[in-house]
């Protein structure tokens, strides 16, 4: 119970700090952030956009790992865990895409410009969507688990193409792509100590939140299945 309160306080602090702390040229007080040329006020979105993008990747990997486990042991519980992770992954993917588009509007002038990272997150959205569509078309539990697990593995195999190769060959606007001279605020650590702290706290807070939601998610699905069985038996 205590850690849940901790988590709440942490995320509340991160949210408030992320949004309210002012950005000034020369930060002196502990609650001030430095001015990063090119980003200015919009820099604050880094506290939310990057964690959501990070989590969608974590969720995707977890979903794939449990799919792989299911294919090996055929234990339906693994499929449920995979599903719970994918649900959250979908949500975070949408959030990452939206926060990314908002940032893009301010930083580059338009919401969408098919930058390789944007294309990648869009592809991930398509993969999630396809995966859920496939699942909803299959009645039998076992078949649903097996076929969607296979699809997860196939999708997983194409992901390296998006992550590593596409950004190399396509010029992009994202910090860190082929033609960007500076590697971006995260990699370059143009953030000062305060910003870095808030950033990492945000990352940690959101990650803990994700694992908690995933845990509650899959356990509630398992419980519901048990209840359904009892109801059928009568």
């Amino acid at each position: 119970m205590i850690w849940k309160i901790f988590l709440f306080l942490l995320l509340a602090f991160v949210s408030i700090a992320g949004i309210a702390f002012p950005i000034v040229e020369k930060p002196s007080a502990w609650y001030e952030f430095p001015l990063i040329p090119g980003l200015e006020e919009n820099a604050k979105i880094i506290f939310f956009h990057v964690p959501t993008a990070w989590l969608t990747v974590v969720a995707f990997f977890m979903s794939t790992i449990y799919s792989f486990k299911y294919l090996r042991k055929k234990n339906l519980d693994d499929d449920v865990k995979s599903y719970a992770a994918a649900q959250l992954g979908m949500i975070f993917c949408i959030l990452a895409t939206v926060t990314g588009a908002v940032w893009a509007k301010f930083a580059w002038g338009s919401y969408w410009s098919w930058d390789p990272r944007q294309t990648s997150i869009f592809a991930l959205l398509l993969i999630y969507g396809a995966w859920f569509a496939l699942r909803s078309s299959i009645e039998s539990e076992e078949k649903r688990a097996t076929l969607s697990s296979v699809y997860s593995m196939i999708a997983f195999v194409t992901v390296p193409f998006f992550i590593f190769i596409m950004p190399r060959i396509m010029t992009g606007l994202h910090p860190g792509s082929a033609d960007d001279s500076n590697a971006g605020p995260v990699v370059d650590f143009k953030m000062n100590g305060n910003m870095q702290l808030i950033f990492f706290l945000s990352l940690i807070g959101f990650t803990i939140l994700y694992f908690w939601m995933w845990n509650v998610g899959y356990r509630s699905i398992l419980l519901r299945e048990k209840l359904d069985k009892k109801l059928i038996r009568g």
């Binding site: 055929k74 339906l76 039998s140 539990e141 076992e142 299945e225 069985k229």
Partner: protein
Amino acid sequence: MTNYSVEAVDLNKSFGRRLIFNDLQFKFDKSGVYGISGPNGSGKSTLVKIIAGIIGASKGKIIHKLNDKEIIEEHLHDHIGFVSPYLVLYEEFSTYENLNHFAEIRGISFNKERVDFLLNKFLLFKRKDDLLKTYSSGMKQRVKFIFALMHSPQLLILDEPTSNLDDEGKNSVYELVKEEGQKNIVLIASNEKHDLEVCSDIVYLEKFKN
């Protein structure tokens, strides 16, 4: 006598979370006709499909051996003949073409003598070049038997072999089954009284439902 054996060890099958059977054991290593029985829905078809290697078991396994050497999954189909009401062959081809394709896909040479012999036995020789589309259901059933026997399998699996057959049809099946049972293992999945009468030993699926 046969040098083939099929054995079930701790076999368990569930569909999703629904248990079909549990802890199933049996072993057949002498030629003969054996039965698998149980009321409708008890998992007879499921069990024979598992034995034929078409679907997988949830736990445990089926071991097929020839001359005491275990046969790997990839080669199972060379040793098994399978007949069932839900088996469908290619209607756009003739019987002869179908059987030819099957031999080639199996990777064994087309044994014309044996096929012609079977066609004659099942009274289909005259119509061997007609498309399956034009066959009656009784004739299609006979083609399925030829399909199951053309590669001289050591294990013959028949799922509800006399369904939809008249008495004459049933009798010819029983004759065939007894003949095959002399040298090979025949498994019949059915809950028809007459079908089970031909079997020397029967596995009752209700016993494994706990």
